[in-house]
């Protein structure tokens, strides 16, 4: 059962190019801001409230995006080692280490690519490491850190007190922004921004919807990255909203022409966990080789689970922001809810299997994925493969091991099909 890939396949399509363009513009803005007095603030991706920064024209900076880019360009290791030299352990999140190392090496500030933020908005949504990460940034830059403590959503949903608590903190954030920028908070401006957010969110969930088609027009794991930048970092801008209009057009076109991202779609899989950015294409090839394509992924919902219907509501500005942060993103959900989310993907997107990519860096994702494997193989009868590496640290990717496990998994699935045919 020889595994195959199209030689040097170019995965980039129109959407990749569009995404690249608008993300590059944003990066340019960041670089310019290092030399201009433009106010900027750090914020994390998951369940963020970038809309509030936008309505004060504060430039949002996402350290995760920085770490991600270092990894995918295979530049992360020296920075990781740099921060290990000041005391970070080999077991710490490599996203933090790469970002801190990059900062220490002058990547942030005057001669770097990222401005020193005027303040830090610690949107603590699920990931406890966020708090430490941003504390370290705050101490490196000696700038104020605003804590947005988002109560973890339990199976029985958030209480009214949870929502009240978040609303109060959002108002305190707004007050801080007013003080910093000298601008008065303009609720109508926020409504406008949220309008753009909602438009982008509808586009994004429409795209996800299209992955139910066979063949799927794009890979909901590997290609989703092109849309995650715009939906999470640029959300609330007209640019992002327009981008999604074009993306929807593109993919609907493919669907109506019966075109899929793979010439030969043999296995539809649901992906759990972040990808190994330092070996992004190498890893994708291992699946492509078997005609395996992701029809859904949990990672693409770290910023928001919009495909389940929620969008920001200009009529309920702060309320909907609070709900987005507490309820409608993957990071603030329990493992039990994540299991349910994955199961609904398997059912609604007619997936053949679940693939768990377990990464050492992010325990929010990985801690307990063995139980997830147990649940889906034993309780749900969903063929499940679990492989391990890291999303940022290239030292944890062993290709021979990885390939061996993936090949064996799809050999087994292939064999099942053949027998299915034989007995049919």
């Amino acid at each position: 059962m020889r595994t195959t890939v199209a030689e040097d396949k170019d995965y980039r399509g129109k959407v990749h190019q569009l995404s690249r363009d608008i993300m590059t513009d944003w990066m340019t803005e960041l670089k310019d801001a290092t030399k201009s007095p433009t106010p900027s603030a750090y914020m994390m991706i998951s369940g963020n409230c970038v809309e509030i920064l936008r309505c004060f024209d504060i430039l949002p900076v996402f350290p995760e995006v920085n770490a991600l880019q270092l990894a995918i360009r295979k530049q992360s290791l020296p920075y990781i080692i740099k921060s290990e030299e000041i005391g970070y352990a080999s077991d710490n999140c490599a996203y933090v280490k790469a970002d801190v190392g990059y900062t220490m090496c002058g990547g942030v500030g005057e001669n770097g690519n990222i401005p020193v933020p005027d303040f830090i908005v610690c949107n603590f949504v699920g990931c406890n490491v966020y708090i430490k990460w941003f504390e370290h940034c705050a101490s490196m830059f000696d700038v104020p850190m605003i804590m947005l403590d988002i109560p973890f959503v339990r199976e029985d949903g958030p209480s009214t007190d949870d929502v009240k608590y978040v609303m109060t903190q959002l108002k305190e954030l707004i007050a801080h922004c007013e003080k910093l920028t000298g601008k008065k908070f303009d609720i109508d401006r926020l409504r406008e921004v949220l309008g753009y957010s909602a438009r982008a969110e509808r586009g994004w969930s429409r795209c996800k919807e299209l992955c139910k088609r066979k063949p799927t027009p794009f890979d909901a794991y590997f290609d989703s990255i092109n849309m995650m930048g715009p939906i999470n970092a640029l959300r609330g801008s007209k640019v992002a909203a327009d981008f999604f209009d074009q993306v929807v057009e593109q993919y609907e076109g493919m669907v109506s022409d019966g075109m899929g991202v793979l010439e030969d779609e043999r296995f539809r899989i649901v992906f759990e966990g972040p990808p190994p950015y330092p070996y992004y294409r190498n890893f994708r090839n291992l699946f492509e080789a078997w005609g395996a394509v992701a029809v859904q992924s949990t990672y693409s919902t770290v910023g928001g689970t919009w495909e389940f219907g929620f969008t920001h509501d200009p009529e309920r500005p702060l309320e909907s922001i609070a709900e987005q942060m507490i309820i409608h993103n993957l990071c603030n959900r329990s493992m039990i809810e994540r299991y349910a989310q994955i199961q609904s993907y398997v059912d609604e997107y007619d997936a053949d299997a679940l693939v768990i990519h377990s990464i050492k860096s992010c325990r929010l994702f990985s801690a307990g994925q063995g139980d997830m494997r147990e649940y889906f193989t034993k309780d749900r009868g969903v063929p499940t493969l679990m492989v391990e590496s890291d999303l940022e640290d290239p030292r944890y990717y062993a290709e021979a091991q990885m390939k061996n496990r993936i090949d064996a998994f799809f050999e087994a699935l292939t064999y099942k099909r053949i027998r299915g045919k034989a007995t049919a």
Partner: protein, 268 residues
């Protein structure tokens, strides 16, 4: 004239140095460490005495160090190998402020204070292929003897780096390099370079800012020394008997304690 022995019971080998009251080295002892630490220590001590032309009972004071320092029943005092290595290295190179000790089991980076006292130190992380034992294992796999490693590595033309931090996975990388038909020299050189990289970051954690004394068995491998010299950006000093420096330091500290003891007994 007092005679002092420093015995370093390491994971790989047991080293002994016998000095006299003027810190003159009279004899060395060396033998592979085996299950019975006490016996190994005796053998190594006897060898050193023989070289020194001394009878065992002429040795006035014994300082033990290394992993097995507590197992030596005959010791007068035990001191850790970090303290001893620092002191020994300082005695040999008084101007160097940093010590890199690479042994079979562990790699230590030490920064020194005046008088060769330990200021800070970093030992190698768990699950890291960062010690001499790793080199021994791959040399065994490559079917060459340990003492060939150093010189062979110098002949490399296209070094093959090792990325994995786990010794076992690093070995599979080596196996992979071999199957790719890479030359033994290139593989060894790559291993040396990777080890040097790790040692460098350990030294940086200890605040590297000047010349480094490179001690321990691995310092005997020219290829390793070269890899360090290429990377550290500071002078790398290698003593004549790198694997005996810890035992030497033990002997020096032992002499200090000996004098203290004599003084106190004299009063009494």
């Amino acid at each position: 004239m007092p005679y002092i022995a420093g015995i370093d019971l390491g994971a790989g080998a047991t080293k002994t140095v016998v000095i006299d009251g003027d810190h003159r080295v009279l004899g060395h002892g060396f033998c592979r460490t085996q299950a019975d630490f006490d016996k190994v220590a005796q053998t190594s001590l006897d060898a050193a005495c023989k070289e020194a032309g001394l009878e065992r009972n002429q040795v006035d004071y014994i300082a033990s160090t290394g992993l097995g320092r507590y197992s030596l029943t005959e010791r007068d005092i035990q001191i850790t190998d970090l303290t001893c290595g620092a002191r020994g290295a300082h005695k040999l190179f008084p101007d160097a402020g940093f010590v890199l000790d690479m042994g079979a089991q562990s790699t230590r980076a030490i920064s020194l204070r005046d008088g060769g006292k330990v200021k800070t130190f970093r030992t190698n992380e768990k699950c890291a292929a960062g010690s001499g034992g790793f080199l021994e294992r791959i040399s065994r796999y490559l079917e060459i003897s340990v003492d060939q490693i150093g010189s062979l590595s110098l002949e490399a033309t296209d070094p093959q780096p090792i990325s994995s931090v786990c010794a076992v996975l690093a070995e599979s990388e080596i196996i992979n390099h071999v199957s790719e038909g890479k030359s033994v020299a290139d593989i060894l050189c790559g291993a040396h370079q990777s080890l040097a990289e790790r040692a460098l970051s350990q030294l940086r954690m200890a605040g590297l800012a000047g010349p480094v004394v490179f001690i321990g068995g691995v310092a005997l491998q020219e290829g390793m020394v070269k890899a360090c010299r290429d990377r550290f950006g500071f002078e790398v000093l290698v003593p004549k008997h790198p694997s005996h420096v810890v035992a030497y330091g033990a002997a020096i500290l032992g002499l200090q304690r000996y004098h203290k003891r004599e003084a106190s007994t004299a009063i009494a």
